[in-house]
Amino acid sequence: MADLIGAELATRTLPLSGFHGGSAAAALSVAAPATRISLRAKPDAVAALSGALGLSLPTKAKTSASSNGRHALWLGPDEWLVIDENEADLIAAVASSNMLHSATDISHRNTAIIVKGRGAAVAINGGCPQDLSLAAFPVGACSRTVLAKAEIVLLRTAEDTFRVECWRSFSPYVSTLLAEAAEDAGN
């Protein structure tokens, strides 16, 4: 029976596989797979964890740090969402800090939709009550918030681009709502 093992390595089935849509004002696409961890730690571990991750963990609300496809988003006073678009082993990275922390793999829990275009903010405001003007939500700003009846995490990666993270089972709802709102953002 041993020959069965690994004969066919299980393949990944991505949520929203192949999804793209939106409008000329706000184009929607699904982000590539990434590794993600929910990182929790106390203030005394921030410096060592920053060193281990190769970026400065943000300690101010609504801010993020990015470096070489790796993003650390402030979600709460002891909570960060760390995303690595190069799919590096983030659990191992933070373990090397040797400081007290909690890291839980949520790479498959979340998925992300990229909203890009002059109407990107308007499209997201179709369901998100936050002020997404550049003054209130500049490039690099991030926040856990709501999109109508779903929870999302927003990260502004450029003036006209947002990364919208949500739990995988909410992704059809989030993408459908964003598609409707993106259409309307063009009007």
């Binding site: 609504k62 979600l75 006073p77 009550p129 856990r144 918030t145 709501v146």
Partner: protein, 114 residues
């Protein structure tokens, strides 16, 4: 829809991101097993349901996730202040009364706010 100032995020956010979580400043006793029935009743079941100033807990559920405390007027539905969990009740004499009939003109509102 209210705006609520989250003391952890340090800004006002839409009520949609928050959940109310009952009365504040009710500490869970450390001697649970030694409590009398009357003490347990007072701790767990009895609440005042005040008309006016109330201290209550909120959670920034779809935000930073933190529980925090708020002083709110149940008549005007206005928040007087919010503060981090674990902090004592704030000195309310330093806070502006939140009744509706406090100003007579808009200009007075402006000068009060500054």
């Amino acid at each position: 829809m209210l705006l609520i100032y989250c003391p952890y995020c340090e800004e006002e956010r839409s009520e949609l991101e928050f959940r109310q979580a009952g009365d504040a400043h009710i500490a869970r006793p450390t001697n649970m097993t030694e409590m009398t029935d009357e003490d347990f009743e007072a701790f767990f079941f009895l609440r005042d349901n005040v008309k006016g100033l109330t201290f209550e807990r909120w959670r920034h559920l779809n935000g930073c996730g933190r529980f925090f405390n708020a002083a709110r007027d149940t008549v005007s539905d206005k928040f007087l202040t919010t503060y981090k969990a674990g902090l004592p009740r704030p000195d309310l004499s330093t806070l502006r009364p939140a009744t509706e009939a406090t100003v007579e003109t808009y200009e007075a509102t402006e000068s009060n706010a500054k």
